[in-house]
């Protein structure tokens, strides 16, 4: 039966999980969508109807093309399928065009391109360290990771309600991470370059990539204590890397904050997992201190962090804090009354699953009472912001107070997680130094 202990090669549960969440995405086709829907429709129209030279000049609509060229080519290829659904959506002048066929096509395009994400999750699950001893399927780390990634709350509501193509993009990112975990560094670098050309926001984590690849790939051997062996430098590899990776230089503030973290993987790389930890810190650092950050950028930290969360008890605790707070901070994105039950139900679903599965995996409570109280406070914040405050007299004079309260309250949790993550990374660096002495 499906629930018995699986053989090592029995992955039949994986398509079931993937298909299940795909059905959920399909049933949300007619839910509310944000202006991002029109943004992408406009880009379909621009790339289809106009010559390449005009793509970045066209400004009939206020939503001009502001992603790198590879994404524009992506929209161009989508537009060839779009014309079979409704030709009218590809007319640039048809602003805010939302025929049923258009909605169906756009929603389906997000659901179908998520196949990249699904494949990437499968690769990540294969790289997770297996636990010996027969356990039932639901207790295996790779099952929990698959569920936490495939059914991630943030990705569901941002991609399939609000409307974006993050599943496709994060798929490429996670695939790149998986390749590094599997030791296939050139492929990982290639994928990351592709990603940078699809959405430039991933520049935030470029330093982690650059330093790691330079250190672990270009220097082929370490000293016995893990420090750099300069003599093992391989120019061939550097050229190979250089010809693939375009730019490692920081263009925004975040990476400067992440410098010590980045330094640590130069001195003591600790393999691909150290790189992953650094990547998460970079992503979170840029979220904390970056320029013009969107709340959706929290997903850049949460998704890769899931891999670490199923392997270490301490990481699982930080993960629960970060994820619950981060996901709740996405609530203001869906402000319509009809979508309120959906976001609450999905949030409860994901939070309940992440807590119970990780608690079972690591046998015991992962959060101290203070942290638990803080998280329970999120319920109070939600009731206050969505039920109590709208009925109060200040709703008309000070309508931004709920948003303010949400942001400030969540920032406490996110900052706390950032600090703990940073400390854990430096502590690992310190232990290595200590071992050396």
């Amino acid at each position: 039966s499906v629930m018995a202990t699986p053989r090592a090669d029995d992955w039949s549960w994986f398509p079931a999980l993937a298909l299940g969440v795909s059905f959920l995405k399909c049933i949300l086709i007619n839910a509310y969508h944000s202006t991002d829907f029109e943004v992408h429709r406009n880009w379909l129209a621009i790339t289809h109807s106009l010559p390449v030279s005009k793509w970045y000049h066209e400004n009939t609509s206020e939503w001009t093309l502001d992603y790198p060229p590879l994404f524009a080519w992506f929209e161009y290829s989508l537009s060839h399928v779009a014309q079979h659904f409704d030709k009218e959506m590809l007319v640039v002048q048809n602003l805010i065009y939302t025929s049923p066929a258009t909605i169906l096509f756009q929603r389906l395009s997000v659901i179908v391109t998520d196949i990249v994400f699904i494949y990437a999750v499968k690769e990540c699950c294969r790289s997770v360290r297996e636990e010996k001893g027969s356990k039932d399927l639901l207790g295996h780390p790779f099952f929990i990771l698959a569920a936490l990634l495939l059914w991630n709350f943030g990705l569901l509501i941002v991609d399939h309600i609000h409307f974006q193509y993050n599943g496709f993009l994060f798929g490429i990112l996670l695939l790149s991470v998986a390749r590094h975990l599997q030791g296939r560094h050139l492929e990982g670098a290639l994928l990351f370059t592709v990603l940078l050309n699809l959405k430039h926001i991933y520049l935030y984590i470029a330093p982690a990539y650059g330093i790691f690849l330079l250190r672990s790939y270009c220097f082929t051997k370490d000293n016995t204590d893990g420090s750099v062996r300069w003599s093992s430098f391989s120019p061939v590899r550097l050229v190979a890397l250089g010809s693939i990776v375009i730019s490692v230089g920081a263009l925004s503030f975040g990476p400067f904050i992440a410098m010590p973290a980045v330094l640590s993987i130069w001195c003591r790389p600790r393999g691909a997992r150290g790189f992953l930890r650094c990547l998460v810190v970079c992503a979170l650092g840029s979220f904390m201190f970056g320029w013009h950050v969107h709340e959706k950028a929290i997903l850049m930290a949460i998704l890769p962090f899931s891999i670490l969360a199923v392997e270490s008890r301490e990481d699982a605790g930080i993960f629960l804090m970060l994820t619950t707070t981060g996901h709740y901070s996405l609530f203001p994105l869906l402000f319509t009354a009809a979508e309120l039950p959906i976001k609450v139900l999905l949030m409860l679903l994901f939070t309940l699953y992440s807590f119970t599965s990780l608690k079972k995996l690591f046998r015991g409570s992962l959060l101290n009472p203070l942290e638990t109280t803080y998280l329970l406070g999120l319920v109070a914040v939600e009731i206050l912001c969505e039920v109590v405050y709208p009925l109060s007299p200040w709703q008309h004079t000070l309508p931004f107070v709920p948003l303010l309260v949400t942001s400030v309250y969540c920032s406490l949790g996110v900052s706390y997680s950032f600090i703990r993550l940073y400390v854990s990374l430096l502590r690992q660096h310190g232990t290595d130094k200590h071992k050396q002495l």
Partner: protein, 507 residues
């Protein structure tokens, strides 16, 4: 993972699916002057809130019975009154007498959908969870899978949260009746069922099995002693509950008659529209609606219905176990659906509920029936603009139930209880009936998918404008007839004395 967390996750997922479906259109949306079932429910809130009780079922200047007059028993009316009080607090315009007719707005739709969700959460869903955990067999994981599969049944979701109705209340109360009877509390079980009956009169389809089961139990306990006492207790409970539900109407016999007249409109003919039952299908070949008089039609349908339910009821009377009870519920309600008077296509939900209870025991036939029942309502869904939810929920249900309940592994002749068929087909000994059933299932699902596609993509020929609804209806009818035969055989073929106690448990 512990049971409670797994079950909670399943329930949350089920609720999400339900609410996501409710974001779509409803019956009669934007279609004046009559609109649809959504407007009917809103109108009943208006009527029950603004008018005194003795006017609810009567044709008066304030209450035009031709515009969605109340035609369900009093509990529906009380429920509408309760909802109306809440509506009045939020926005009085929604239930304003006469002025609120045809009212449609974003907020109102949210309110109405919320009332369905609340009723479902309070009544139907707890009953499903309790049934799966206390009355179904198998490991804990299997029970959780059963909860999920029952909650994902598309027919109920699409009708309650799409088209707009409150079937989860009447079906939920009936399910409570089954659960409580299964746990051995006969008096409370009959109370639950009487409440269900007083919510929707269609629950009469389930009444005979309840009656035979309880009477059978009384006989088993000996009519001279405890059996008689039990019988009296049940009878008193039933009468008192009826009296309490109908209390405001008991003062005047004219009231009672009028309500009954509204509940059973015998003047409306053998069937309306296309429905997957015998009369509508027969009408394709012989125009019985015009050949026979209304009275003859009535007697004909009554006789065939009684004949169809007789074997099942007698067997239940002789062997009142839970297994027989579940099968009898299926057989009785399905027979009523196929042969009764003035049946609507939504009434297929009445046999669908007990078939859901068989998902654990006979997965493949149950899934087959449930999918066919959803498919039979396709013309209704297309009219309501519910194509996408129909496709997604059907595919999801098929996938989850086949995968989680290992339907294709429980496909042997023995597991499907095809023994009698084997004896019938004695001339063809080489055939593996289990394999044959599986292939018939594949073919059937493919045909349903094909017909669904054609109904949407192709335009019917001019001489036969109703071609696709008719094809859907006849195709579903053949399935229902075949499955009625199958479930009857399974129920009747079971020996009166369980020879080996573990025989029933080896599902």
């Amino acid at each position: 993972m512990e049971n409670w967390s797994l079950v909670s996750i399943c329930v949350l997922f089920g609720l999400t699916a339900r609410w996501a479906v409710s974001l779509n259109s409803y019956s009669g949306a934007g279609k004046p002057p009559m609109f649809g079932d959504y407007e009917a429910q809103r109108h009943w809130q208006e009527v029950t809130y603004n008018l005194p009780v003795h006017e609810w079922y009567f044709n008066t200047t304030d209450n035009n019975l031709n515009y969605w007059g109340l035609d369900y028993p009093p509990l529906t009316a009380y429920h509408s009154l309760l909802c109306a009080h809440v509506a009045k607090l939020i926005n009085p315009d929604w239930v304003e007498l006469h002025a609120s007719r045809g009212h449609e707005s974003y907020g109102h739709k949210l309110f109405m959908r919320a009332t369905v969700l609340v009723a479902d959460l309070l009544i139907y869903i707890p009953a499903v969870v309790l049934y799966s955990f206390y009355l179904s067999e198998g490991s804990n994981k299997k029970k959780v899978c059963t909860v999920l599969c029952i909650l994902l049944y598309p027919g109920l979701i699409l009708i309650d949260y799409g088209h707009f109705q409150y079937n989860s209340i009447s079906l939920g109360l009936a399910l409570w009746g089954v659960v409580v009877l299964g746990l051995g509390w006969d008096v409370l079980g009959s109370l639950a069922f009487v409440l269900s009956l007083n919510y929707k009169q269609m629950e009469l389809y389930h009444s005979l099995p309840f009656f035979c089961y309880l009477l059978g139990k009384c006989f088993k306990q000996g009519l001279a002693g405890r059996g008689l006492f039990l019988l009296v207790k049940i009878a008193v409970t039933v009468l008192v509950t009826f009296a309490l539900c109908w209390l405001p109407f008991l003062s005047d016999p004219g009231q009672i008659l009028q309500v009954v007249h509204r509940l059973f409109p015998v003047g409306r003919g053998l069937f309306e529209d296309k429905v997957a039952n015998t009369w509508c299908s027969l009408n394709v070949l012989i125009k019985i609606k015009t050949i026979l008089s209304t009275d003859t039609q009535l007697y004909f349908s009554l006789t065939t219905t009684l004949l169809a339910i007789l074997p099942s009821s007698i067997k239940l009377l002789m062997k009142p176990t839970l297994w027989q009870f579940k099968l009898a519920l299926v057989n009785s309600s399905l027979a009523f659906f196929l042969f009764s008077f003035q049946v609507h296509e939504k009434s297929i939900l009445l046999p669908a509920l007990p078939v859901c209870l068989l998902l654990n025991d006979l997965p493949l036939p149950a899934i087959w029936f449930l999918q066919a029942s959803t498919f039979s309502m396709l013309p209704l869904f297309l009219k309501d603009g519910l194509l996408v939810p129909y496709v997604v929920t059907s595919l999801a249900f098929l996938f989850f139930s086949i995968y989680l309940l290992s339907a294709f592994e429980h496909c042997s002749e023995d597991k499907l209880r095809l023994g009698p068929y084997r004896r019938l087909l004695i001339c063809m000994p080489r055939m593996d009936l289990g394999r044959v059933t599986k292939w018939k299932f594949y073919f059937s699902i493919t045909a349903m998918a094909g017909l669904s596609f054609m109904s949407v993509a192709l335009a019917p020929p001019d001489q036969l404008p109703d071609l696709f609804p008719l094809l859907v209806s006849v195709f579903s009818y053949l399935h229902f007839l075949g499955l009625l035969l199958y479930f009857n055989i399974v129920q009747i073929a079971e020996p009166l004395q369980s020879v080996r106690k573990n025989q029933k448990k080896s599902n």
